[in-house]
């Protein structure tokens, strides 16, 4: 909702502003870190609970649910990644569930948590004006989160390339494909570098773009008055698909990139 003295532009800007501490590059988006770590811990805690008492006996309901997700991820990994690897499956699971939970924050009505934070911060005396409190609750609408994820995956792509093909093999791949001729090595290198760098960039921007756009539409819907209720519901229903799909795509592409990195052309 828009309070009296706010223009729509101010309202939107307020919603898209992170709670930032510090200046310049060393500034930290506290809300992004807080919510993402909270959700990550929630994920690990709830799954760890199952892992601790998991046995081959008759599973409980929560255990069934967790095992369903684990098996789904395991099958996805087995389909694309051939060979034994201890890291890829847990990595894929973490990516899928963590991103899903962070995306899921989008379904909480856009004003609830920011408003609560505004008045909470005001009453606790952190700020003189409630409007000085910024709270963005969807960590995946922050480029920092999506790039942190995709650059970690990028680092793994390089590590896997070198681990499976050796430094020489990796260098060869970078310079002798797609044109296998020594004279075209610079061209090859430029092309391959773009291909390589496009992977983390597309991963991060795809996730960020989808979620940011979704968030923006929720904010726009929140400004239209009474009819926001059915509109919000309709968009939320559609957005569930986006939330799940984006988490799945990020996981799937990570697996595919890593399996590409670890296999010869």
């Amino acid at each position: 909702m828009i309070s009296g003295e706010q223009t729509p532009t101010q309202y939107i800007q307020h919603h898209l502003q992170n709670w930032t501490v510090g200046e310049g590059f060393w500034a930290v988006n506290v809300d992004t870190i807080f919510w993402s770590v909270l959700l990550g811990v929630l994920f690990l805690w709830s799954f760890r609970k199952v892992a601790k008492k998991s046995s081959a006996g008759v599973p409980g309901k929560w255990q069934c649910f967790v095992e369903m997700i684990v098996e789904f991820v395991d099958n996805s990994v087995k389909e694309s990644f051939h060979g034994k690897d201890k890291l890829i499956a847990p990595l894929a699971l973490t990516i899928f569930v963590w991103i899903f939970l962070m995306n899921l924050m989008d379904l909480i009505p856009v004003d609830w948590l920011p408003t609560a934070a505004m008045y909470g911060g005001y009453w606790l005396g952190f700020v003189d004006d409630p409007h000085d409190v910024y709270m963005k609750v969807v960590p995946t609408t922050d480029l920092n989160t999506t790039f942190a994820l995709s650059l970690s995956v990028f680092a793994l792509i390089i590590i896997y390339s070198i681990k499976y093909k050796g430094v020489k093999g990796f260098a060869k791949e970078m310079t002798l494909t797609p044109f296998n001729h020594w004279a075209l090595m610079p061209v090859n290198f430029v092309l391959e570098s773009i291909t390589l760098l496009a992977k983390p960039a597309s991963l991060a921007l795809r996730l960020f773009g989808n979620l940011y756009a979704g968030e923006l539409i929720f904010i726009l819907i929140a400004m239209i008055g009474f009819w926001q209720l059915p509109a919000h519901f309709a968009w939320a229903v559609f957005h569930i698909l986006v939330i799940t799909l984006q988490a799945f795509i990020f996981m799937m592409l990570t697996i595919v990139y890593l399996s590409m990195a670890s296999s010869e052309h």
Binding site: T20, G24, F25, S36, L44, A51, G57, V70, L87, N144
Partner: protein
């Protein structure tokens, strides 16, 4: 919205989460799943095998039952035949025995009769001789009695 130090924090968080997941979450769950899958597969296999065994046993039972029935029918048949044969033989033997007994009775009776007749004849002869002697002793009218003697002799 700019990139700032948050990216470092998020990267560290991500690495820690993945490490924790890899160490403490993934292995126990996937092990339990695989173990359970194996258990279920074993159970299904065992069930199938038991089903097959049962079918085989039932088939065997049916076969054995059929065989036993056949055998018993054969035994009954044999027993009937043998019984009939025994009855026939006994009847035959009875007949023969009877005939033999009857024949021997006849013979005996005939022999007895012949003997009696012989005896009688002897006694009559003796009697006749004795009578004749007595008559002769008296020597009554020879002529008068000759007809009696003659008559006696004729009767013998």
């Amino acid at each position: 919205m700019d990139l700032n130090a948050t990216i470092i924090g998020q990267t560290i968080a991500f690495i820690v989460f993945v490490w924790f997941c890899m160490k403490f979450v993934w292995p126990p769950i996937i092990n339990a799943i695989e173990e359970r899958q194996k258990k279920i597969a074993d159970g299904l296999n065992a069930g199938e095998r038991a089903q097959k065994d049962l079918e085989k046993a039932q088939q065997e039972i049916a076969e054995q039952l059929k065989e036993a029935k056949q055998q018993s029918a054969e035994i009954i048949e044999q027993a009937k035949k043998r019984g009939a044969k025994i009855v026939e033989e006994e009847t035959q033997r009875g007949h023969e025995e009877r005939e033999k007994i009857v024949a021997s009775g006849h013979e005996e009776v005939t022999a007895e009769r012949n003997r009696a007749r012989e005896e009688l004849r002897k006694q009559v002869a003796v009697l006749a001789v004795t009578g004749a002697q007595k008559i002769i002793e008296r020597e009554v009218d020879k002529d008068a009695h000759s007809d009696i003697v003659e008559k006696l002799v004729a009767e013998l």
